[in-house]
């Protein structure tokens, strides 16, 4: 099986084709669950069927281009997965902070500091302080002045 895959000239296109087929199937299944029919014209499911068909056609197109060797030029540029990992950690920190009621300031501080780390900054402690100051300012500005409802945690309730 692995030998077969490595023979496909443009592997990303093949992967996209599989994803597109999967989405098409899900959409088709979802549309088939919709029972209410319109008296005249199109029902709500028609658009879903159309999009499912579009996905299927695009998947076929990707399969064709996957077997066409001249189409992959943009490849071979590597990615720094460590940097991506730091941003993922930053976003996970934010989500965790809000999920467990840690509040906006804590979440944003983590997001700021870890993202700066992803972009090559080494002074994590300094960035945490800077992120905290910025988050407090944003919180005060938007929560108090513009009365937007930012998530509250123990820190925010002090204000």
């Amino acid at each position: 099986m692995t030998i077969k895959i490595s023979r496909i000239p443009n592997r990303p296109a093949a992967v996209v084709a599989v994803i597109l087929f999967a989405v098409a199937t899900i959409t088709y299944w979802d549309a088939s669950q919709m029972t209410v029919q319109a008296t005249y014209g199109m029902s709500a499911s028609a658009a879903s069927y159309f999009v499912a068909l579009l996905f299927a056609v695009l998947a076929l197109g990707h399969i064709v281009s996957a077997f066409r060797p001249d189409e992959d030029e943009s490849e071979a540029e590597g990615a720094d997965w460590k940097a991506v990992g730091w941003i993922a950690l930053a976003l996970a920190g934010l989500i965790a902070a809000i999920w467990f009621g840690g509040g906006f300031i804590l979440g944003s501080t983590l997001l700021f500091a870890f993202t700066a780390r992803a972009f090559g900054r080494k002074a994590l402690l300094k960035d945490i302080c800077l992120g905290a100051v910025m988050s407090v300012l944003i919180f005060l500005l938007f929560n108090k002045l513009l009365t937007l409802a930012l998530p509250l945690g123990p820190l925010e309730r002090l204000f």
């Binding site: 959409t27 005249y40 996905f55 281009s65 906006f104 997001l111 993202t115 700066a116 409802a149």
Partner: protein
Amino acid sequence: MDSLLYLFHGFSTAIEPANLIYAAVGVIIGTAVGVLPGIGPALTVALLLPVTFKLDPGGSIIMFAGIYYGGMYGGSTTAILLNTPGESASVVTALEGNKMARSGRGGPALATAAIGSFVAALIATIGLALLAPILVKIAVRFGPWDYFGLMLIAFVTVSATFGSSPLRGLTSLAFGLWLGLMGIDQLTGQARLTFGVPELLDGVEVTTLAVGLFAIGEALFVASRHLYKPEKPIPVKGSVWMTKEDWGRSWKPWLRGTIIGFPIGALPAGGAEIPTFLSYNIERKLSRKPEEFGTGAIEGVAGPEAANNASAAGTLVPLLTLGLPTSATAAVMLAGFQQYNIQPGPLLFVQHADLVWGLVASLFIANVMLLVLNLPLVGLWVRLLAIPLPWLYAGILVFASMGTVAANPSVVELLLLVAFGAVGFLMRKFDYPIAPAVVGLILGPLADSALRRSLQMSLGDPMILLQHPSSAVMIAVAVIALVAPFVFRGLSRFQQDED
């Protein structure tokens, strides 16, 4: 000459102190955003949408338009002084502008860009004021079938005709259409693709998608590629004023750039990139000193800069009169209108006449403000480039997530944002365009309802779309625009084989 009367009335709205402040805030943010690498006007408007939710609709929309115009001005500064264009519309400006800056003529390059932008935006905004009422007169007669035809044209041109690969553009569009299906169907009350998640019943927020794809996707992409190597802007030496020769060589390219940029911006999917490339090529052919091209010819800055500003005004024509976004920024601005329950289209000029004409009038005012901001104060903006990029991107992400949770304080919304960010990263990595997805999400549900209303009126007969000549022509145009790139690509391959 009704439109002149309306325009004067618009000026009386625009010079209200509150609206002047909105316009000023818009152009300042827009210029800053244009100068800073990594954030474009589309992302900025998307970031500000949730924040401005509770502000005055007229003022916010004036601010968004100011950001759009300002972004076009600011982008040229980065392109000339740094050779890393802030957004795609100023890629061409970097070609000659940066060469000029390197040879010590950065001042005149900035000046011709700023004055050219001013001239172009001025003429193009007049064009907008004159053309919009005419288009509105045609558009009020449009039936739902015509709107469906128009949206088909927009879908096809945004995704297939002008992209590098029609297949990738259409895939991006399909992603947006798919997201547009999610939520409760307006006509029958059934849930589509919600998978039992109650937060999805209201559908996917355009801002969440735009911020995820643009901000988080971009940050991930830049971090993964190490595209943030510090670069020092070239200091501006000498005067920013242009010599007599510079003026003589600039004014015609400004006018030609305007003439190219405005109509292309007004066309579906014309955007700002194509007119800048066209203008650059034309100026190179027409220049009296073609040998200077490649080493810093002032025409190569003047023309494209005029073209990109004119196209920004052109984009507003279909947006305001038909509710049809032709660029990513216009798509996000449409979402801004919708946030206040204002639907751009011919009725906008009837129901919200003071808002529309106030907007058009404040575009003139914003344009003057931008000239002041960008010529004498250009040094201030250059200092913005000293912000370390790690902090800049970290700040963007904080602001992006803040806007999302402020609009809808739920973890599901944040998870969606992160998921869209991941998708945006992969789309960038594998060279899929972003704009079609945003356009698909906004226009998809509108096209769905236009089609269904047509079919209800015809009692289910799909031939209604072809029986009306107007919609039949539009559908034909859409089909041709869809098929043409595949045919032309086949032709070029055929020619290559012959060689």
